[in-house]
């Protein structure tokens, strides 16, 4: 291998540029003293990264499942490790999701983060590099390095800028994910010892015995199941979500949880197809439990952030369900649902952050009856809530529909069990919406009257509740509008997004089918 190889039509190392821009930006943070300049710098760097990543969408060749924009460079030759970057139809969307969500994370922290701002921007930018790194790595060690490197800035985001129980939440987050992923490391080493390579495409093409596959699958799946998170490894998630600052919650929901699903698609399915087929029923059961249990718990929450966090467990249950259905609709639906969840739940966490800045409470009761004071806000909240419960016309509908279609096509019983999950989602989201916008029940007449009084004075301050309410400002409106565009764009015209993943998903399922075929051949002998 020559020292540096570029396989792309653009003629410049676009992936390295996207990967390293935030890191370079992070390094500069400590030289900026002025707080406003710091925020602007963070915004500029994330926007630049997003702009740099745009050609990944426009120049992406949708007709091939191969890795594109590949870059290779020697790094650690004595163990055969290189710096290898590339994206395919499965990862490119996640890279774009990351680069487009990150500016919002800076924007949503504009007023809420005041202390240790330089470190905050630094952590966010390092986080961005690590997350992009996971999606563009073409070898297992690089993947693992970025995977682990994410833990530190995320840990700091929760532990330094988090809520009252931040220590507990941060440690729990760190330990769960670290313990999960360290078995993944063993799997990586074992793969290297067996095949002599760290290169993911080579590993995808390699053939392993069933026993070997089962171990590799188990090692990898544990890491991904914790990250996504699947029932019963989900307990770190509500704590982390609730305690994290808004930007941390958005990153967690929008991107971090996607790592698990991406890992399943990148490692488990292609490298251990027979084991995948063997374990799929178990994982489908866990997914179903996640869907129903997450929805059930969400229904009982009084804390908005906890509610959304548990709804994430349910949504991610749909993702893993889609993946392990192992059919075209299921996997595509799961992929799309990962993007959708990134957009919608990210937006919901932004909404929670916005209201928390005003009322300093995340309790539903404390934030009831906002419709009168914040009409713009509740409009956005309504749209995202409807998207979250997969209302037709919104993005999540397409994803959930594809997954359920996949389920009914191959295993109708699974589909039938998953349907109540979708209904639960409608129940808890509508309950949330109803309380936050109208709050006409629960006998809170007293409060209602006073609130009306406050509104009647033409004063946006809800003094009766000790709340200071004002509607969205330009910055907040811009953030949410940006996401609303995607909610409807994907909801009404999902084809451009689906076409990106089409070739890669088909190829992936062919690989799995070929692997399964060899199982049947084995059984036939």
């Amino acid at each position: 291998m020559t020292n540096a190889l570029l396989y792309n039509s653009l003629g410049y190392p676009i992936l390295s540029a996207v990967l390293l821009t935030p890191l370079a930006g992070a390094a500069c943070c400590f030289f900026i003293r002025n707080q406003t300049v710091l925020k602007l710098w963070g915004l500029l760097v994330t926007l630049m990264t997003a702009a740099l990543s745009l050609p990944l969408w426009t120049a992406f060749d949708r007709s091939t499942p191969a890795y594109q924009f590949v870059e290779m460079m020697e790094w650690f030759p004595s163990i055969g490790l290189s710096y290898q970057l590339g994206v395919d139809g499965i990862s490119v969307l996640l890279v774009l999701l990351t680069t487009f969500i990150m500016p919002l994370c800076i924007l949503c922290s504009w007023k809420s983060i005041e202390h240790r701002l330089a470190e905050f921007i630094f952590a966010i930018l390092v986080m961005e590099t690590a997350m992009i790194g996971v999606f563009v790595s073409m070898n297992t060690v690089l993947f693992y390095i970025f995977w682990e490197a994410m833990l530190i800035p995320m840990y700091l985001l929760i532990a330094v800028w988090g809520g009252p129980r931040k220590d507990y939440a941060a440690i729990k987050f760190f330990l769960y994910t670290f313990v999960g992923s360290i078995f993944f490391l063993v799997a990586i080493v074992a793969l290297r010892v067996k095949t002599g390579t760290f290169f993911i495409p080579d590993l995808m093409a390699a053939e392993f015995s069933f026993g070997w596959q089962a171990w590799i699958f188990a090692g990898c799946a544990l890491a991904f199941a914790v990250k996504i998170p699947m029932f019963p490894f989900h307990t770190w998630l509500p704590a982390a979500h609730v305690e994290a600052p808004t930007a941390g919650s958005v990153i967690l929901a929008s991107i971090l949880l996607k790592m698990g699903g991406y890992g399943f698609l990148r490692f488990c399915l292609p490298m251990a197809p027979q084991a995948t087929e063997f374990f799929a029923p178990f994982l489908i059961v866990l997914s179903l439990v996640g869907i129903l249990y997450g929805g059930y718990l969400a229904l009982g929450q009084s804390d908005i952030k906890k509610l959304i966090a548990y709804s994430s467990v349910g949504h991610m249950g749909f993702v893993t369900l889609g993946i392990f259905l192992l059919n075209d609709e299921g996997v595509k639906g799961a992929m799309l649902q990962m993007i959708n969840h990134g957009i919608t739940t990210g937006a919901l966490f932004l909404c929670i952050g916005i209201i928390y800045e005003r009322t300093h409470s995340r309790e539903i009761q404390d934030n009831a009856a906002l419709g009168m004071f914040m009409p713009v806000y509740v409009t956005f909240l309504g749209i995202f809530s409807l998207s979250s419960l997969a209302f037709p016309g919104t993005n999540s509908f397409i994803g959930e529909f594809l997954i359920l279609m996949g389920a009914f096509r191959s295993q109708p019983l699974v589909g039938a069990i998953a349907i109540p999950g979708a209904i639960l989602a409608a129940a808890y989201m509508l309950r949330l919406l109803q309380k936050m916008v109208w709050d006409s029940s629960d006998g809170h007449v007293h409060h209602h009257g006073e609130a009306a009084h406050g509104g009647g004075q033409g004063n946006d301050n809800d003094h009766a509740h000790g709340r200071k309410l004002w509607d969205l400002d330009l910055r907040e409106t811009a953030c949410l509008t940006f996401l609303v565009v995607f909610v409807f764009w994907i909801g009404l015209n999902p084809q451009p997004v689906l076409s990106v993943m089409d070739a890669s998903v088909t190829h992936l399922l062919d690989q799995v089918a070929a692997g399964q075929g060899s199982v049947q051949a084995l059984a036939g002998h």
Binding site: F76, I79, E148, I182, F183, V186, V189, R192
Partner: protein
Amino acid sequence: MSMMEFLPELVLIGMTLIFFGLSLFKADSVLVGRVALGGAGILVLTAFAALSSEGMLFFDAYRVDLFSQTFKLLIAFGFLGVLALASGFPGVRNEISAEYAMFLSISTMGLTFLVSGVELLTILLCLEISSFALYVAIPMRKGAHRTQYEAGIKYVLFGALATGVTVFGMSYVVGLTGTTYLSELGPLLPDLVASEPLALIGLLMILSGFFYKLALFPMHFWTPDVYEGAANETTAFVATLPKIGAVALLIRFMASSGADSGHLVWVLSVFAVFSMTYGNLAALVQSDIKRLLAFSSIAHAGYVMVGILSAGPEGFGSAVYYIFGYLVMTLGCFYVICQVAPAGENLSFDGLKGLHRKSPVLAFTLAVAACGMAGIPPAVGFPTKFLVFTAAIGQGYYALVILAVINAAISAFYYLKLVRAAYALPEEELSSGAVHPRFALGVPMTALGIFITAVILASGLFPEPIVAMAREAVGVLL
């Protein structure tokens, strides 16, 4: 015998004599510190210059080869590091600083001889030289702590026990083979170890002496008390240099004693697992930072052992790289301890609170070193663990690696506690906006901190040169 073959040793002998001279005149500790730094600097240069020397000295009992010279360079580098982070020996009484420096030099000298020793009695002598100097140096601590004497006595008693066991083991091996030269033992030992239980026992008893230096189970008991009781700079020394020497010796012995022998690997695996598990579990509950590092060093001894017992160029190479990584990360931790506790007191978690406010350099160095110890990329601790695990899986020791990995996960908890202590701030201080007095580190110390951090990160991101050097070094043994 050319001068070059023995040059690093001569420098150390010279240093020892100079400190002896200084001790006669009750030299000031600042002067002693500067002389020590200068001497260690020269030592590093000469060790580097002598890197490619080869030869057999002193009736073939002393072998100078790439392996020994690489370890000499590591020891020299470690010695320079220890002296640099404790300039002027603040933890030791001013009037005995020259003696203190002399004993550290003698111990370093013993270790430098040790890595070249290829004859059992020479090895024993070198081991004793390095230990005896430390027996004297450990209780040398400012103030009248009970713990320092306890530390000294524990180190002496366990050292004597280790020596006794080693000599006993040597008697078995010599009795069975009739020779004390490793070059002659080499061809005989593998078969003997496989067929003769006595040889295996003898070999294990010899190795026990080295386990004592490495603080590996079952010879680890002295570690926490000695770490806690000794002055910070002494602990930094004890935590790093003797372990380098021990790893060198263990590799030399394993290379010549048929490491493929099932029994030996089995026993060493058990030791490694116990060491990791005990070290990590006990470290979880420590509040004194030095005690925590002591237990963590017991755990690290287990990881190194995984590399050593995997044998072959991959296993030994990974162990050498591991000990290099351990050296720089430990120096990073002790750099912080020595700066945060300038009067030489012991440091607890409370003492680290709000460190990032008082000194961002110290906090960041500690964070990088601790993350490295936990094995989180991109610090050097990740590739070291990765290579050790790769070597072990390459030999088929899956269960061992899984146990090691579980241990690594446990260790993340207490290393994270260190980072958290450095970066967390008590809420009341945060709200009151109390301004912390900042540490006046000075330019040289700040530069040292940045340098250590840079080495930890750079050797983790670009491991190739060091790993290539380590593999070349162990190549001469195989």
